[in-house]
């Protein structure tokens, strides 16, 4: 058991320490109601550190900022960018913006759902390798349809091309 009351390991303790350093650096004044304005910025950092925002992290942020946990949870659940579930090592985002949709991105998404065996915007694959999500426009409409794997953007994707990318990652990871 760590100091946060959860059963996390020392690796997690390090992550909490990193988050604390960031929050302390913001020098929030507990008497200033406007400290809440930093919440989204802090959650972005927390998600960057932990990969997702489980309840322990939300509780921790609430305590650190001295705001109700309900306020943190309300914000986390409102915005698409924040996730309360862990993500796969590779997050495959298929753009379902209008430009990509009319160029057939839904077909790409369906094919990936089939090949990965998971529905979009749900749990990662059982091996923890892939998460499949749909997103709305990355602003590369000239390259529609677009797929983003972690930070790499693939343009003019077809169902076959998307599957090839998955196969390549699987082969690389199998080594």
């Amino acid at each position: 058991m760590c100091e946060h009351g959860c059963s996390c390991s020392s690796a997690a303790a390090e992550k909490f320490a990193e988050l604390d350093t960031f929050i302390d650096g913001l020098k929030l004044d507990p008497a200033d109601a406007r400290r809440r304005g930093r919440l989204i910025q802090i959650l972005h950092r927390a998600q960057h550190i932990f990969g997702y925002l489980p309840r322990e992290v939300q509780q921790h942020v609430a305590q650190k900022m001295r705001i109700p946990e309900s306020a943190v949870s309300g914000v986390v659940s409102f915005y698409n960018f924040f996730s309360t579930k862990p993500k796969g090592k590779y997050v495959i985002n298929v753009c379902l913006g209008t430009a990509c949709y009319v160029k057939g991105s839904e077909g790409v998404l369906r094919e990936l759902e089939r090949v990965l065996g998971v529905k979009a915007d749900t749990d990662p694959t059982p091996d923890g390798l892939f998460s499949l999500t749909a997103l709305r426009c990355v602003g590369c409409c000239g390259l529609a349809p677009v797929m983003v794997v972690n930070d790499k953007v693939y343009g003019k994707v077809t169902p076959a091309k998307a599957v090839a990318v998955v196969e390549e990652i699987r082969a690389r990871e199998a080594k």
């Binding site: 809440r36 930093r38 309300g74 409102f78 915005y79 924040f82 430009a99 009319v102 709305r136 602003g139």
Partner: protein, 642 residues
């Protein structure tokens, strides 16, 4: 570069820097031997390896021993995304398209060293089937007038010195040293510019209201939460010309009496965030942000606030709540953000969109009269010559993100009053893949579709509203005969249902009910009565929802019902999808044209096709997922939709 502490300093910096752009401006002499190679470094082209192209070009130039005369510059977007990555060589005015990293060697050897064209990379105009090197002669650029995008594709994006070389910050200098805040407001009002985020409220009027509020603490906000899927002009401006947003916000702050600026930007645009932050840092270092700007006693600074993925945050009250660290839910207006109690932390706040801001510095520099003469507006002015009201049309230019089934996908900026036909056929190069034009959707999920009959409508806020669509932020999706209109409406409703914040009932529940009806219609389970119910519900939601998102959510349904009722009827009465996209309404069949080559069976992802070699194959309808992979694979066109 030294700190700029007065207007004289700025002008000296401009004189010192303007030579940097000399080769890139029209009419530059081509015989000096000096060249600038411009390469687009926007998100879209970076995906296509433009960073590697730049690296290779620099290495080749160096290897040729020409790095003293030839510079490789990473610029913003040229707008012609369909042909990217683009390499433009100035002052030769040559435009190479679809360049790959390995082409760098040939470009340098043939063009730079050998003074000959690299023929295979020259743009070929699809309708004329002719090569065009001079970009000003390309139909794509001919009818455009780049004002908001004036520096995109001209200056180096990460270098504020080049922005100063492009007469940057001179609008701010003029405002601070020669004009009172009230005069700045009047200038913007007289220019006739309206909010480019979509609603089209006169920017000057917004500033006038904010300026009239007496308060010590005020805020000026840039709405960079470009949520309309399919619109990317704000991203391009922030990536290609971020300093123009910084300058404009400072001008606005001076006009309304704010000392702090905030940019609310979506987290999906990491490159725009970092470029904008860089521009803010560089401006601060030069003394163009901070205390006592240009020695005038004016203090102003800007902070970036990240969004976290919520379409509704483009609505200004929702945006303000999000900046305060709350759920991005809208509140009823009044109070408006400009009112005390309505803005950021209850303070008077003015919110404008990125594209609007990008036009402000040049309006200040060149004057309201210059800007007001662009466009198609007819105005009434009072005895003092001031703008009173617009009889019709609007002033200035608007940027559109042209996408969908059109040849020249990209960013285009045209004067108000340009017709849709000119944009789609002259600039856009017509419909791709030899298909028929069906409609164009403007205004994204809040807008509507425009049909062939209305292609000659001049583009301005009022005219688009009259034909049941709207300007919106500038997304323009071209649809062809292979797009099903009820399915498009279903697509947009899926979006608004997901993005509804849930605060008001008409939007939270209404969008879901409308989506369910559309799903039934597209699944062939709809009835004719359902169409009337759908229309009724759509009208109710339009009248009763709390904010713009809910009020406009029914627009895609109402406008497709208005113009494409026959397609809906085909779905509900005949159970047919004329465009052949609704999978429940067709089956795939293999005809006698099948030669038994087995290609379809090998390409079927679910193993639904069986048959012996050289004999007609069959599709097991129970297994078929109608993905169409067999149609694409069949060399004999033996597979049909029925």
């Amino acid at each position: 570069m030294d700190r700029i502490t007065s207007k004289a300093d700025l002008m000296a910096a401009y004189e010192a820097a303007k030579g940097k752009l000399a080769l890139r401006l029209a009419g530059a002499k081509t015989d000096s031997g000096k060249k600038d190679i411009l390469v687009c470094g926007d998100t879209g082209c970076l995906v296509s390896d433009s960073a590697k192209i730049i690296e290779n070009l620099r290495a080749e130039v160096k290897a040729a021993g020409m790095d003293g005369d030839v510079r490789v510059v990473q610029t913003g977007c040229f707008g012609f995304c369909a042909q990217g990555p683009i390499v433009k060589i100035m002052p030769d005015n040559v435009f190479y398209v679809k360049v790959k990293p390995e082409d760098a060697k040939e470009i340098v050897a043939t063009h730079i060293v050998g003074h000959k064209l690299v023929e295979r990379l020259v743009y070929v105009e699809p309708t004329l089937k002719a090569q065009i090197t001079d970009y000003q002669q390309m139909p794509f650029y001919k009818k455009q007038q780049r004002i908001a995008l004036r520096n995109c594709g001209l200056i180096e994006e990460e270098n504020i010195e080049e922005y100063i070389a492009a007469e940057g910050f001179q609008g701010l200098a003029k405002a601070l040293t020669e004009m009172t805040p009230a005069q700045v407001v009047q200038e913007v009002l007289d220019s006739g510019i309206c909010g480019r985020g979509g609603a089209g409220f006169p920017t000057g009027m917004k500033w006038k209201i904010a300026a009239s509020v007496e308060a010590e603490e005020k805020y000026i906000v840039c709405n960079a939460d470009e949520g309309d899927p399919g619109a990317f002009m704000d991203r391009s401006i922030m990536e290609g010309d971020p300093a123009s947003v910084v300058e404009a916000m400072a001008i606005g702050a001076y006009a309304i009496g704010a000392k702090q600026g905030l940019v609310y930007i979506r987290a999906e645009y990491p490159l725009a965030v970092s470029r904008l932050q860089l521009a803010i840092d560089q401006a601060r270092e030069l003394g163009l942000l901070g205390k006592n700007i240009m020695g005038t006693g004016f203090d102003f600074d800007i902070e970036i606030k990240l969004g976290a993925g919520a379409f509704v945050c483009g609505e200004e009250t929702a945006l303000i709540h999000s900046m305060e660290g709350q759920r991005g839910e809208p509140t009823t207006k009044p109070p408006f953000p400009a009112n005390i109690g309505g803005g950021y932390w209850g303070c008077s706040t003015n919110v404008n969109n990125v594209e609007t801001y990008a036009s402000i510095p040049i309006i200040l520099r060149k004057g309201a009269e210059w800007y007001s003469k662009i466009g198609n507006w007819v105005t009434e002015r009072d005895a003092d010559g001031h703008w009173v009201k617009t009889v019709s049309g609007n002033a200035g230019t608007k940027v559109f993100a042209l996408a969908g089934q059109v040849n020249n996908v990209g960013l285009v900026e045209v004067p108000m009053g340009t017709t849709l036909r000119e944009i789609i056929y002259d600039i856009g190069g017509g419909i791709s893949g030899g298909h028929e034009f069906k409609a164009v959707q403007t205004g994204g999920p809040s807008g509507g579709c425009i049909t062939k009959e209305n292609l000659d409508t001049p583009i301005d806020y009022g005219s688009l509203m009259k034909i049941g669509s709207m300007m919106g932020s500038g997304g323009m999706i071209v649809l062809s005969d292979k797009d099903c209109m009820p399915a498009m409406a279903k697509f947009y409703l899926g979006f608004t249902k997901d993005e509804s914040c849930g605060k008001c009932t008409p939007c939270r529940i209404g969008t879901r009910r409308m989506l369910e009806m559309l799903e039934k219609i597209c699944d062939g389970k709809g009835t004719e009565e359902m169409l009337a119910e759908l229309e009724d519900l759509a009208n109710t939601i339009r009248d009763t929802a709390l904010c713009g998102l809910g009020q406009t959510a029914p627009n895609p349904i109402l406008s497709t019902l208005r113009y494409f009722r026959d397609e809906y009827i085909a779905h509900v009465r005949d159970k047919k999808c004329p465009a052949g996209t609704c999978t429940s309404l067709f089956t795939l069949k293999i005809t006698e044209a099948c030669k038994g080559c087995t290609k379809c069976a090998r390409n079927c992802p679910v193993g639904a096709i069986t048959g012996e070699v050289k004999k007609q194959h069959v599709i097991d309808q129970a297994k078929c997922i109608k993905c169409g992979a067999c149609i694409d694979a069949c060399p004999f066109k033996a597979i049909v939709k029925e």
